[in-house]
Amino acid sequence: MVESDRVMLNTLSGALKTSKDFELLSTYRDFKSALGQSSIYNPNLFLVDIDDAEAFKTLPGFVEVFPNAVILGTLSEWNADFAYKAQKCGITGCIIKPFTPQDIVETINLYNKRGKSEPSRIITFFSPKGRAGRTTLAALLALDLAKKSNESVALIDADLQFGDLPIFFDLEPKHTVIDAAHDIKLLTPSAFAPYFHEVTKNLYLLSSPDRPEYAELVEAQQLVDVVRMAGHIFRYLLIDLPSGFNPISLAVSDFANINFTVAMINTGLEVAHMKRTLDLFKARRGHMHIDYPIFTRVNPCTEEQKQKLENQIAHHITEIFPNEYNLVSIANSGRILYGLPQDTLMMKTISKLADEIIAGKL
């Protein structure tokens, strides 16, 4: 254990010494001596103080010397920037001080489920207008990512007024994104994790509320805080945004690694909406390349058609999806978990997209 504050060091180590589950090998006041001397013990768990930004210089060294150890950064209070930096350095995660041995066990379990010790991939689903196939895509992709990556995947329904994800998964969850937004200032990762409902292996859902007026109660910044802490807990975070440009869709998509912009081909005018959307995002994001256009219900769903659309919007198109009425009606009616016709162009395209995300190609 590394802890610069002597009083805190005493508190934490005192609790650990009385625990049957842990054997405290040694404690240090600073990083340098810890890194130099720990190798004589071969520890499998580090609890290292990351309240001081200096820590991030030494953390990669720990990860390199002890690749198989669990390394938890200890924080006096939740700090999304520090937590992100810590995972960027390759350490397992964070724990908030003071903590009990039981807290450590819970936290380690959380990260065991999470998967690789890397920052999360945050994927948002934006659409200029509704009825674009946005939610269907988010749900199908989340399922496939959970299945293939064997890491934890969370879906957040940020379409606060008319979120449809609870219907897709046939759930009436106890906690909603509104509760999360309210409580977020008081939460820690391990206290926040239970707000998510386990839908199926590796897939967790934070639902929208059932009354549209509750959306009023949430500030965009609160939702950003929710997303940042959730990103710490889950390896993949998929967020269904409300349609159009509003404080929430803008603020949350700013934090994405991938922002899928989804429009459904209907009268053909949607292509113009897509172009306006991409232009606006381009102006907003500067050099950040995170916006990936997707068209749904493209008929015929061919490479030529894709190129035609690309010419119209003067932008590369990430994927086009066909009209798959049967599949969509299954997905839309709460039967998504009980098997979908896999042998369809729609599912194959989803599968390809999931592979590319896992491989880090997007």
């Binding site: 200029p128 008319f162 009436e172 549209p212 007026e213």
Partner: protein
């Protein structure tokens, strides 16, 4: 049309005159036919000889001008700017775009051209602008599918709220029900809200009657499905009365427009709502209420 235009107009003026009647078209899911409805209502009311102004208040991605192939010079954005800089001199009519086809004509207030401008539209300015348009017989408001402060203000000033739904998939039914319950919770009189089922005769797994039971209210109007005619109308940039004069959908819009020209009945369309069953999953709850 059963009644001659002049008779209707006369009949109405006797009934107290039609001026500044605000009719809004609202839904809680996108793509439910609000814009199609708004345009065709405006067209049929204009055909009856009324002065009609159609306002596209789907500010970011409004479709009215696209569906009518209009290229407006001024929009709500300029109207608001000028109103704010000189309210005394401001005349809302100067910012309208006239839609004319053959001998049909009505006015359109176009939505801002840029999304940035759309973001800046202010509710109280819109209210003031609409006040100035009260000289029109009818003001039709095409809204966005969301509960926003703008939409609530518009629903407040509307004489009639057409609440449109396509009830093909479960999420749409859920949003239709949740949206209706919210309107009632917000204390809009159920008399003012007209439930309109769009694409009522399309192939779907959910029956209109079941949705009526779920909501506890009957549809006051049903619009049939006619994808081809709608597409023809949008592609040609003309209302359905020109693109598909004989389509049942066109007739249905005509009837809907006519219904505003009759003194509005107060007969209740209320029916016994399906009982809510707590502590069950959303799906089984809805399915149960839908009689599945």
């Amino acid at each position: 049309m059963a009644v001659e235009y002049s008779n209707v107009k006369q009949g109405l003026s006797v009934a107290g005159g039609h001026s500044g009647i605000i009719i809004s078209i609202f839904s809680t899911s996108s793509g439910n036919g609000k814009t199609i409805t708004a345009i065709n209502l405006a067209a049929f009311l204009a055909k009856e000889g009324y002065e009609v102004c159609l306002m596209d208040l789907d500010l970011q991605f409004g479709d009215v001008c696209d569906y009518l192939k209009l290229t407006p010079k001024y929009t709500l954005a300029e109207a608001q700017k000028d109103f704010e800089s000189d309210p005394e001199e401001f005349n809302a009519k100067n910012y309208l775009t006239q839609y004319t086809h053959e001998d049909l004509s009505f006015s359109v207030m176009a939505p801002p051209k840029s999304i940035d401008d759309a973001y800046r539209i202010d509710v109280s300015a819109v209210e003031k602008i609409i006040e100035q348009l009260a000289g029109f017989d009818f003001i039709i408001l095409d809204l966005q599918a969301v509960f926003s402060s703008l939409n609530l203000a518009m629903l407040d000033i509307s004489a009639i709220i057409n609440y449109v739904g396509i009830i093909d998939f479960l999420p749409s039914v859920k949003n239709f029900k949740v949206g209706y319950d919210t309107l009632i919770r917000f204390e809009y009189e159920s008399n003012k809200i007209r439930l309109i089922e769009n694409r009522s005769n399309s192939q779907k797994l959910i029956r209109g009657e079941d949705v009526e039971r779920l909501i506890g209210e009957r549809f006051s109007h049903k619009l049939p499905n006619d994808f081809q005619s709608v597409n023809k109308s949008v592609n040609a940039g003309v209302p359905l009365m020109f693109a598909a004069p004989n389509s049942p959908l066109t007739k249905s819009f005509e009837e809907l427009a006519d219904s505003y020209l009759q003194p509005q009945e107060n007969s209740s369309t209320h029916i016994e709502a399906a009982e809510e069953q707590p502590n069950r999953s959303i799906l089984s709850k809805f399915m149960g209420m839908l009689g599945w």
